[in-house]
């Protein structure tokens, strides 16, 4: 199946010289939920702003369902809904009017049944005639989602949907996004909360300094990059790792009371059995044992760190050469 959204060599240099995107390539399949993960200022918002028509690309191209986003903007934009990061809404309008306005703007004739259903799906049914300024923050965010969905788009962009949102509302928003995905909408969300990507995404694209560092299925990424650690709570503190155990990737924590073993899940043999055998033959006893898998957060930090290391390396090279 050809990709639904194709991003090719997309770059954006702002007028002040800031390089926001640097040769981004990305394919997105119909119906998938992809999370663009990256720290603030990584270029996530610029990327979706270009696809939605808010920012002009400096070079490169984007097609949506085979249509170029600039040449055929009237076709592509009809398919797209955008929920921005901030909460920009006219305060004095009513909920129903602003949602109908969005629908019209995107070229659709009125459809009161659809809009009523949409509002009640988003728990805004009883606020239909309320002024926007009377809504709570959470309702405003749902209203923005309603506006973005008012023209029945096939693709939804969510820019930081849960930034500055409390725990309950975040959970609610996640449920909502799951429901949208189940209805077949292709969803691209940006986030700097790793747990959000972990919770929802089919695929994760890690973006930093305007480049995509890695794009992987979430499960693959976690498996490939993920490390596992085993923690052994020792009966006697271990001052240093004995010579016999130097073959294992071991270190101690908490003044030698905890022995940590790093191993990789992708390997056929984890080495746990032999380690435990060796420990018992050396009569090293332990009270408790637990294992931990590194989260997407750790993986992300590793990736971004690695990137920083590479940059530092390049800089120092440049300094010595120059």
């Amino acid at each position: 199946m050809p990709p639904y959204i194709t991003i090719e060599n997309l770059s954006k240099v702002y007028q002040n010289g800031h390089v926001a995107l640097n040769g981004v390539d990305l394919n997105i399949q119909e119906g998938e939920l992809i999370a663009l993960l990256g720290p603030n200022g990584a270029g996530k918002t610029t990327l979706i702003s270009i696809i939605c028509g808010l920012v002009r690309p400096s070079s490169g191209s984007v097609t949506v369902d085979g249509h170029d986003i600039i040449r055929d903007y009237q076709k592509t934009r009809k398919m797209i809904g955008l929920v921005p990061q901030e909460l920009p809404i006219e305060p004095f309008e009513s909920v129903i009017k602003t949602v109908n306005f969005s629908r019209g703007l995107f070229g659709k004739n009125p459809n009161p049944q659809y809009i009523d259903q949409l509002l009640s799906d988003l728990s805004l049914g009883d606020k239909k005639y309320s002024q926007i300024k009377s809504l709570s923050g959470g309702m405003k965010r749902r209203l923005l989602i309603a506006k973005a969905l008012s023209h029945e788009p096939r693709i939804l962009f969510l820019d930081e949907p849960t930034a500055g949102v409390d725990v309950n509302l975040r959970k609610e928003t996640w449920d909502l996004i799951h429901r949208l995905k189940d209805s077949g909408v292709t969803i691209i969300l940006t986030t700097h909360y790793i747990e959000e990507a972990e919770e929802m995404a089919d695929r994760v694209a890690v973006i930093n300094n305007g480049s995509i560092i890695v794009v992987e299925r979430k499960t693959d990424l976690m498996q490939k990059m993920g490390k596992k650690q085993m923690f052994l709570e020792l009966q006697e503190p271990m001052m240093q790792i004995p010579e016999e155990l130097s073959g294992y990737n071991l270190y101690t924590q908490e003044d030698g009371r905890i022995l940590v073993y790093n191993y990789e899940t992708t390997k056929k043999r984890t080495g746990i059995t032999t380690l435990l055998k060796d420990l018992s033959s050396m009569e090293i006893g332990f009270k408790d044992l637990k294992t931990e898998q590194s989260s997407l957060e750790d993986i992300f930090m590793d990736l971004v760190d690695e990137r920083v290391e590479i940059l530092k390396h390049a800089e120092s090279k440049f300094a010595t050469n120059g």
Binding site: Y14, Q15, S49, C52, G53, L54, V55, R56, Y73, Q74, K75, T76, R77, K78, I80, L82, P84, E86, P88, I89, E90, P91, F92, E93, K97, N100, F101, S102, R103, G104, L105, F106, G107, K108, N109, K147
Partner: protein
């Protein structure tokens, strides 16, 4: 053509006027009535006639023009400035709607509102003085062209303005003085010769003069010149609007 899109913007703008009916309709009517009390009755009683028309009747076209121009600029500039101020332009810019369609929506609404206000003032004037319109067609044409030109001008101001102060500055410091000095309340021939010459550089003179001609068949300059002046100004505004959308000036990065 994205007809639902144009309709959405147009209705949205008309709704704003409905919500602020006092500011939109009542306040221009009240201020016009005040003009009639002050200029028409107090001063007008000392000026008998200008070119065979009573002073009260003479100032009606000027008063309508004054309101038409300031309201067109205000409506259109506010219409596009407000979404920029609240940040809701993101929606318009990401919608499948062309620049032409956006302008038709905003400017169309501003023209409609200011023409309605203009006609209401015309009706209000009828309560104070005798009015007759010699050329109804020409009168409406001048009304529409002026409203259209100044609405486009207002749209440009709304895009240019960075804050509410700038939004007010042009209507207040440019449009109002030009209208007052453009022969709205007097005939240019009443001025000393030097000031008559200065007045001919004021574009508003041509609009007021042409508009007054459609009422009383008296004018300071010929109707053809009036029409060509307004056409020139219109073309300038269209060109500037086209340039703004082409470059994305202040709208897009």
């Amino acid at each position: 053509m994205n007809i639902p899109g144009i309709r959405a913007i147009f209705n949205h703008e008309m709704d704003r006027a409905r919500r602020t009916i006092f500011q939109s309709l009542v306040s221009p009517v009240i201020s016009t009535s005040l003009y009639f009390v002050v200029f028409g009755s107090a001063i007008g009683s000392r000026i008998t006639e200008i070119d065979g028309v009573s002073y009260g009747s003479f100032i009606v076209p000027g008063l309508i023009m004054l309101t038409l121009m300031t309201q067109s600029v205000t409506y259109a500039s506010f219409g596009i400035f407000f979404p920029r101020f609240t940040g809701t332009t993101y929606e318009i810019l990401s919608a499948p709607i062309s620049h032409l369609e956006i302008v038709i929506g905003y400017v169309g609404a501003a023209v409609t509102k200011s023409v309605i206000v203009g006609l209401v003032i015309l009706a209000t004037s009828g309560l104070f003085v005798d009015i007759y319109v010699a050329h109804v067609g020409w009168m409406l044409l001048f009304l529409l062209l002026t409203a259209f030109t100044f609405s486009l001008f207002g749209f440009l101001i709304g895009i240019w303005a960075e804050n509410f102060e700038r939004l007010q500055i042009i209507p207040l410091l440019v449009v109002t003085p030009l209208v007052f000095l453009g022969g709205s309340f007097y005939s240019v021939s009443m001025l000393p010769e030097f000031w008559q010459k200065v007045t001919y550089f004021n574009p508003v003179l041509y609009l007021v003069s042409g508009f007054r001609w459609s009422f009383y068949e008296i004018s300071d300059v010929s109707v053809v010149i009036s029409l060509s002046m307004i056409a020139t100004f219109l073309v300038i505004c269209i060109a500037l609007t086209w340039w703004i959308f082409k470059t994305g000036y202040k709208l897009k990065e």
